[in-house]
Amino acid sequence: MPGLKIAHDKCTECRMCYVVCREININAVVVSPTSQHLLEIDDRCTYPKCTVCLMYCPAEGSIVEADTGRSLVPPPPEVWTENRRWPRLP
């Protein structure tokens, strides 16, 4: 079970989570094969090791901890500590 879940009542389907997750080659955000094409997070999600989608999600409350339902947008300070960051080099 993935560590994160999208709360569809808050998500605006902007796709920023999809873009950033793909940028670091984890690819855990997928478009569901339903008529609404909603975004979902699958088993490839490595949360809490990776929290990158939370930093670029613009919709408050739209990504939550799967276990607890706790909102992680905007990201609380404890989820963007230095040791979790991805280096972006030229």
């Binding site: 873009v19 990776c50 963007w80």
Partner: protein, 246 residues
């Protein structure tokens, strides 16, 4: 620093999960923006206070017409459609997500026109949106981008638009938050809340583009040049709908 700005910075701007020259560049540019963002928040609150004290509902129409002019279909379609063309065919593998974000933004920006028209329709100021086509107040705006340089930025470099996303769209977020802290009218609040969701997304586009793509001096230079342009006093004021004075 005003608490509304501090809240925005702590919740949305400072959190990052990347390191490297892009993030460092963004934080340096942020320092340059802070004074004008703070000024905008104070100005937007003052403007909203003045509107409330007017004792008339006319301010709703003034704001909506100004918003329609500055963010509606005329302005937005022209600007966004030029900006999506900034990526050359051979650059598409690198910037395909950037193009998708801009394609989405064309729809978002046009939606502004509907949000402002909705205030005018529901408020009884007009009977049909088409009336706005003949109203100069819904078509005239002081921004240089209508004819000028900001619409042309993307022709300089695919990433140039990131500065406008970062600086100007955050102004929209801040102007909306400041106005919402004062105005209690349901119609205006509905419009502002609707717009706020998308302005935040556009700000995040800028934040992401700079963090992830602006990694070399060559990529940072065109973005910095747009910051230079936007941070000049004569180009910094948002529309009346977002707390500007004009």
């Amino acid at each position: 620093m005003h608490p509304i700005l501090k809240d925005f910075l702590d919740k949305w701007l400072y959190p990052t999960d990347f390191t490297g020259p892009g993030v460092e560049f963004r934080l340096r540019q942020t320092e340059r923006c802070l004074r004008l963002w703070d000024k905008l928040v104070i100005q937007a609150i003052r403007s909203a206070d003045k509107d409330l004290q007017s004792g008339s509902d006319e301010y709703k129409a003034v704001r909506a017409r100004a918003g329609y002019a500055a963010e509606g279909p005329f302005m937005s379609l022209k600007q966004m459609s030029t900006q999506i063309l900034s990526v050359e065919i051979d650059e598409q593998p690198k910037y395909i997500d950037l193009q998708r974000m801009r394609a989405r933004q064309i729809w978002d920006e046009v939606k502004h026109g509907q949000l402002h028209a909705d205030v005018l329709l529901r408020g009884g100021f007009i009977k049909r949106e088409e009336e706005l086509m003949d109203d100069p107040r819904a078509n005239t705006q002081p921004r240089l981008s209508y004819f000028g340089l900001t619409a042309m930025f993307p022709h300089i470099h695919p990433l140039a638009r990131a500065a406008q996303h970062y600086y100007t769209e955050s102004m929209a977020c801040l102007g909306i938050a400041a106005t919402l802290s004062v105005i209690d009218d349901d119609l205006v609040r509905h419009q502002l809340h609707s717009q706020s969701a998308e302005e935040m997304m556009h700000f995040m586009e800028g934040k992401y583009q700079i963090d992830a793509y602006a990694l070399t001096p060559e990529d940072q230079k065109p973005i910095e040049e747009v910051f230079d342009f936007l941070l000049r006093p004569w180009a910094s004021e948002p529309s009346r709908a977002l707390g500007g004075s004009r």
